[in-house]
């Protein structure tokens, strides 16, 4: 299993598309590692600076329909090579969400009020999130205090996270 914890990057916008996560001009790369410098390069979000804001972050918290647009798995890969294995959002585009789980990564959906709460309470703080895979909880920590939030994940998706992705599972079972 991958590591599902660390400092949080808040992206306060809905409909962040995969062209923003990793622009098409970098799809000519044939290794995942090569995508590392370009994550969120074209993100349209005021005061966001990809050069500074991504560094040291391992969890993204964002709004609705994250990862819409292109099917490029380069989007999860660009996150992965930047040590970001968890995205928490109100909702995801289908292909992006499946790509995350297929790579053994977490795309966690929370109701809008929980997402609103996370933004309101923690957006400007030094906050960490830890995913408790067995109990379907995220543990949010800031200023020496922490709280737990439950989330739902399907059995299939959880199996993919635990088995490290779809290729290994499919090879064994089909």
């Amino acid at each position: 299993m991958k590591k599902f914890s660390g400092k949080v990057l808040f992206l306060d916008r809905s409909d962040i598309n995969t062209d923003e996560i990793i622009p098409a001009k970098y799809l000519t790369e044939i290794t995942k590692e090569a995508l590392k410098p370009y994550l969120l390069e074209d993100l349209s979000l005021s005061s966001f600076d990809p050069m500074k804001d991504i560094d040291g972050k391992s969890v993204i918290v964002t709004r609705a329909n994250f990862g819409c647009g292109s099917s490029r798995e380069h989007a999860p890969w660009a996150l992965e090579v930047n040590n970001i294995n968890v995205v928490i959002a109100e909702s995801f585009a289908r292909i992006f969400r499946q790509n995350m789980y297929n790579c053994g990564m977490f795309a966690i959906e929370l109701p809008r009020e929980k997402i609103d709460y996370l933004f309101e309470t923690y957006k400007n703080k030094d906050v960490s999130i830890d995913v408790n895979v067995d109990n379907n909880k995220i543990i949010v920590s800031a200023n020496g205090q922490s709280e737990e939030i439950d989330f739902n994940v399907g059995e299939f998706d959880k199996t993919l996270v635990k088995e490290g992705g779809w290729v290994g599972y499919a090879d064994k079972n089909y």
Partner: protein, 427 residues
């Protein structure tokens, strides 16, 4: 009874359900291109699993950057080419025979009603125009598809979109789908199949239905889908004539891929589109759509006619009808990319290529290039493009550039004017 077309296709292809709401389907076709497939290939090789489930069912094309523009894209092409040769994938389309995947694969007869198809490309939803379940997937799903011929999906919840009325002159499938995306928003169909029915769809050519289904993904849809009918049979006839005695027999067989009257939908939208005007996008999301009338006069630097949305012969004919005997504006660059070599040849025979060239367009080889800013017409910072493509995302056609999505008719008229304008066919 009580089933949608997508449910029927799932029932006919389900291998098993390893978990609740996890339907593993057998695939009839796996389509590949040189951008998302090479990493699947190299991963399979690294795992010691360099196999393919069925070389007949795998179709591959180099289309995104062709001819190769640099060493990296040359390498991507080489990986796909070497792999196709090694595994005996006969339907591999290399330069000279290659075209935009979602145009060339239907054109070669690879899509049939009732099929399940995946590709590492979000616009795979296009092929639902034939009454197939076709979905874009990432590289890992593609990799498993190549290896095992299966893919996992959730239950295909379906939205039904009934299109009534009659389209006004100068209004096309592109205007209809832009209008629908505006109504549904960019995630209004997320995790759902979009079923398009009604008199408007019945009247549409396969090309128009492909335009409609192509942009289902822009509303978040898994697949766009139309019922197969005689138009579908006519399009496919050259490929299926040995399988059926008559077209009526083919239609009878394909008619099993139609939703039951009592099928259960997540939502039903019914629109009379008789008064619909030509539509165009503004901003950076495909649901930011207005009538062209309200955007008239918006300056453009480039016009691009092509792509898996609108690069087919019907699209070129419509644009040529407007461009004939005219010149594009002095301040505009016009680029047209016929989506396949056959479309290019037909356009040449019909005098369409000459019309484009006389008007001042650059005619390029078939490729996806410009649509996603990879090659063949990238915008400079601050420039804007009137495009018949499918995404107006920030920087999509080049960093700092703006894209206005529209029909080929509107694009052609805007090329002449140098600013966004309704086509004469409408006025």
């Amino acid at each position: 009874m009580k089933k949608t077309i997508a449910e029927k296709i799932f029932d006919a292809h389900r291998v098993n359900m390893p978990f609740p709401d996890t339907h593993v389907l057998k695939l009839d076709a796996v389509f590949c291109h040189e951008i998302t497939t090479p990493i699947a290939i190299t991963d399979l090789q690294a795992r010691g699993m360099d196999r393919v489930f069925d070389p007949q069912k795998i179709k591959a094309v180099i289309d995104h950057v062709t001819p190769a523009k640099d060493s990296k894209t040359a390498e991507q092409g080489k990986i796909l080419r070497d792999w196709a040769r090694k595994h005996g994938i006969k339907d591999f389309f290399d330069i000279g025979r290659n075209g935009v995947c979602h145009a060339i694969f239907p054109e070669k007869g690879f899509v049939r009603p009732g099929y399940t198809i995946i590709m590492g490309d979000s616009h795979t939803c296009t092929h639902g125009a034939f009454g197939a379940f076709a979905a874009g997937v990432g590289t890992t799903d593609l990799e498993v598809g190549i290896l095992k011929g299966v893919c996992a999906f959730h239950f295909p919840k379906t939205i039904k979109i009934v299109l009534n009325g009659k389209l006004a002159p100068g209004v096309y499938a592109k205007d209809v789908i832009l209008f629908i995306i505006k109504e549904l928003t960019v995630n209004g169909a997320t995790n759902m199949v979009m079923e398009f029915t009604g008199p408007i769809v019945d009247e549409m050519s396969m090309e128009s239905r492909m335009t409609l289904c192509n942009m289902a993904i822009e509303a978040g849809g898994t697949c766009g889908i139309c019922y197969p009918d005689m138009t579908t049979v006519d399009y496919l006839w050259e490929f299926i004539k040995d399988d059926f005695k008559t077209k009526e027999d083919a239609l009878k067989e394909y008619s099993k891929w139609v939703s039951d009257e009592d099928a259960v939908y997540e939502k039903v939208y019914e629109y009379d589109v008789s008064n619909l005007e030509p539509m165009v996008t503004f901003g950076y999301k495909p649901d930011q759509v207005k009538p062209v009338r309200e955007m008239t006069g918006t300056k453009i630097d480039q016009v691009y006619i092509g792509s898996c949305t609108n690069g087919r012969i019907e699209d070129l004919r419509i644009a040529a009808q407007i461009l004939k005997g005219k010149k594009i504006g002095d301040t505009v660059r016009g680029i047209v990319s016929p989506a396949t070599p056959d479309i290019y040849s037909l356009a040449l025979k019909e005098g369409i290529i000459e019309i484009f060239q006389d008007a001042g367009f650059c005619v390029t080889n078939p490729t996806c290039g410009a649509c996603l800013g990879m090659s063949n017409g990238v915008l400079a910072n601050g420039e804007s493009c009137a495009a018949t493509t499918n995404r107006n995302f920030n920087g999509r056609m080049g960093k700092g550039g703006t894209v206005h999505l529209m029909s080929p008719a509107t694009a052609a008229a805007s090329a002449i004017e140098g600013t966004i304008v309704n086509s004469a066919l409408y006025e």
